[in-house]
Amino acid sequence: MSIIYFLIGCSMVLALIFLGAFFWAQKHGQNDDLYTPSVRILLDDEPEKEEKK
């Protein structure tokens, strides 16, 4: 059943990649604002609107 160590290894590497991504997200303020992004995606950036302003 040695394969299990290989798979655990692969899974750990994956987990570490994700952990790295998580730390990156925290450090770069991705999770600082947990409300605005949900509203922002509803607004589209059609050029016409910008011109009206």
Binding site: M1, S2, G9
Partner: protein
């Protein structure tokens, strides 16, 4: 700072959309055909290329990788551009991605009916196509990360995180599960054998469900649902939380497909614990989606896309509750190998993946064509007939699963099996198979109506291939902050260095250790278990080609109901030369692990010619072409050599005399058949298949006789 003007690429979205619909109809049509074959074997049109064993993988591959796959790319290419406020990184890569993916699908459509398969479920495609998949996936990755890097919006919305997780994990899974040694251009052997191969396959198989059918769809849900309802997601915080929880837990749940097999008990228990934990992050997604519509249910009444979303999310919630329940050993004992699992996956596939895809198509096509949907009535009809289709599909399958699962376990008061004949339990559930094919047909009918509706919509509008948009470029971080960062980075350097080196070391260690580990573990733990003879090996490859594994398992669980019915339960040491393993995941017919020696050669001959001769009422198709076709022995030497490389202890130079041995054994079987007045030449495929079937599970019996 001036806002930048740029254009979203809608054409690539449209192309993936067309591919989604076309492959969806084809994949589901094949599904309906295989469903009918289960009660009308004649639906295989007496043709080896359209027989269940070969066409069932075509159905699963078409709906997963062609229908859902194209839908994922459609959704990602539409939403990623808008979330990142940037056009896709490279139009050329987009094109290569699109055509490359279609090429993969076409090669699957050609090779699977030809019987060119690795037999790994949902990874049946042979090694040249595996390499192509890897290349196209990398192209997709470069295109996606390129877009993320040149984004005009600093915050990466949660949907994009789901897309990133999808890309990274599928890449790793695909490579590990495709480790195979090529024998010829169309044939390879899996590097791992038996229980090890089984673990790799289901580590892959389960995570393919997680990271191909779940995470990209959750990502799309987080973009399209708020857009459709025009209100923000219920809780952005919850979405972040359940994203990280989901991707960290999912990867450990795979072995719940192997409960009660020869996989070590601790590994089984560990994955059950993780599977139960999965309820929380899975339901996090469902709840977040449904609660987004709180106070807006009037919109659901009027808007058919939202109806699709609500049923889709509900189906997701049901499937992700049922999954952990099925991974409980007590429930699994009844559910595994039965139609219960088929019901479970179709609630997920038809409800969650299907309905979300339809909702996105109905929402997206009018937008990129700058028009209204051609007919809301038709869409509404599609919703209702689709929902009915799911019910007509799932309920009979649950019923069939419970019925057969319980019948197979029932004993009389005297302690005998109440239904010793497997066939009896099959015949009991045939009405359910009929109902299921009706459900599937209803669902398919809905999709065809949708295709017409979308076509009409496209015709009445005009595609906007490049949609104009404007956004401020991303501000550079101010220099003061970056000098501060420079100090900080230095401070953090040891930590970063540690993590990076750990990753590198882990990868290196496992790549180096793997061959040693696998070869060492190939040393048989049961002395009497010997490698297959050349004829049996060839027979096994015919067995793989015909897809027998799609209906017949080769692993006996340690239940009295199974040991009484099939024989002694399976031992890990019995499978050490099985590259690949052939345990299967569904028993439409009985288990075959102890088939060897149960019946005479002539029984097998007649049974393969026409199963109904030996078992009246059987739903197995005829395999009469095995009698006509000559066994291709030109590759025997290469196959033996490949097996030797994988650590199977054939004596040195055995590949040179392999075909002599093969002919000798084949002649013996042909002579044996002649005694029963069956005249067949010894060079036909059926001889090899009989040799393999007669060998199955017999080695361990030899051990017992020797001990006596």
């Amino acid at each position: 700072m001036q806002p930048e003007k740029f254009y979203y690429d809608n054409k690539i979205v449209r192309n993936f959309g067309i591919a989604t619909v076309v492959w969806g109809i084809i994949g589901m049509l094949v599904g309906v055909i295989v469903a009918i074959q289960l009660y009308q074997p004649a639906m295989n049109m007496h043709n080896q290329y359209t027989t269940f064993g070969r066409v069932r993988p075509l159905h699963t591959n078409a709906v997963i990788f062609a229908f859902v796959g194209n839908a994922i790319f459609m959704g990602i290419y539409y939403s990623l551009q808008r979330l990142m406020k940037a056009r896709m990184f490279s139009d050329a890569l987009s094109k290569i991605h699109f055509w490359g993916w279609q090429l993969i699908i076409v090669s699957a459509v050609i090779t699977l009916p030809l019987g060119i398969t690795t037999s790994h479920e949902y990874a049946e495609l042979e090694w040249p196509i595996d390499i192509l998949i890897t290349i196209v996936w990398v192209v997709f990755g470069i295109n996606m990360f390129g877009t993320i890097i040149k984004r005009r919006e600093r915050h990466i919305y949660v949907a994009v995180w789901f897309y990133i997780a999808t890309f990274v994990t599928i890449a790793v899974l695909h490579i590990v599960n495709s480790l195979e040694i090529p024998v010829s251009f169309t044939k390879s052997y899996m590097v791992f054998a038996g229980v090890q191969d089984a673990l790799v396959q289901w580590w892959y198989g389960h995570n393919a469900v997680a990271f191909f059918l779940t995470t990209p769809y959750l990502g799309m849900m987080y973009y399209f649902l708020p857009k459709m309802a025009n209100r923000p997601i219920y809780s952005y915080k919850l979405s972040i939380l359940h994203f990280w929880a989901l991707i960290f837990i999912y990867i450990w749940a795979g072995p719940h497909h192997l409960l009660y097999t020869t996989l070590p008990g601790w590994a089984q228990s560990l994955c059950v614990a993780f599977s139960i934990m999965l309820i929380a992050p899975s339901w996090g997604g469902m709840i977040n989606g449904l609660l987004t519509l709180r106070g807006a249910w009037d919109k659901v009444r009027d808007d058919v896309t939202l109806k699709f979303m609500v049923v889709g999310l509900t189906a997701y919630g049901m499937a992700t509750f049922e999954g952990p329940m099925l991974s409980l050993k007590q429930v699994n004992a009844i559910g595994h190998f039965t139609d219960w699992i088929i019901a479970h996956v179709h609630v997920g596939a038809l409800g969650w993946n299907g309905f979300l895809t339809f909702a996105i198509l109905y929402w997206l096509v009018p937008r990129i064509y700058k028009t209204e949907l051609y007919s809301k009535k038709m869409a509404s009809f599609h919703f209702w007939i689709g929902t009915l289709g799911i019910l007509f599909y799932a309920i009979p399958m649950y019923w069939a699963g419970f019925t057969q699962g319980l019948m197979l376990k029932e004993f009389t008061p005297e302690g005998m099996l109440k239904y010793p004949s497997f066939l009896e339990t099959t015949m009991r559930i045939i009405p359910m198979y009929v109902m299921r094919s009706v459900g599937g047909t209803l669902y398919l009918a809905g999709v065809i109506v949708m295709a017409f509706n979308l076509y009409k919509t496209a015709v009445q509008g005009k595609l906007v291939p490049n949609e104009a948009a404007e956004a401020m470029p991303l501000e550079k971080l101010n220099p003061a902050a970056s000098t501060e960062r420079w100090h900080r980075r230095l401070e953090r350097k040891p930590m970063l260095f540690l993590v990076a080196s750990l990753v590198v070391i882990l990868i290196g260690t496992f790549i180096e250790l793997m061959p040693t580990l696998t070869v060492a573990s190939n040393i048989p733990t049961i002395a009497s278990v010997k490698p297959y003879t050349p004829l049996e090996l060839q027979g096994r490859d015919v067995y793989i080609r015909e897809g027998c594994v799609n209906c017949h398992s080769q692993t006996i669980r340690p239940f009295r109901s199974e040991t009484e019915r099939y024989g002694e339960y399976s031992k890990a040491g019995e499978f050490v030369y099985d590259h690949p393993f052939l345990w299967g995941s569904k028993r439409t017919g009985p288990d075959l692990q102890r088939e060897g020696g149960k019946y005479g050669d002539s029984w097998h001959y007649n049974h393969l010619m026409d199963p109904r001769l030996m078992s009246p009422g059987s739903i197995m198709p005829n395999y009469d072409w095995l009698i006509k076709q000559k066994l291709d022995t030109s590759g025997t030497a290469a196959k033996i050599k490949a097996m030797q490389k994988l650590g199977v202890p054939y004596p040195a130079g055995y590949d040179k005399i392999a075909n002599q041995e093969l002919e000798k054994q084949a002649k013996g079987i042909a002579d044996n058949l002649a005694k029963d007045h069956i005249r067949v030449k010894s060079n036909k495929e059926i001889i090899a298949v009989i040799a393999y079937l007669q060998r199955l599970g017999t080695d361990i019996k030899a051990n017992k006789t020797a001990n006596k």
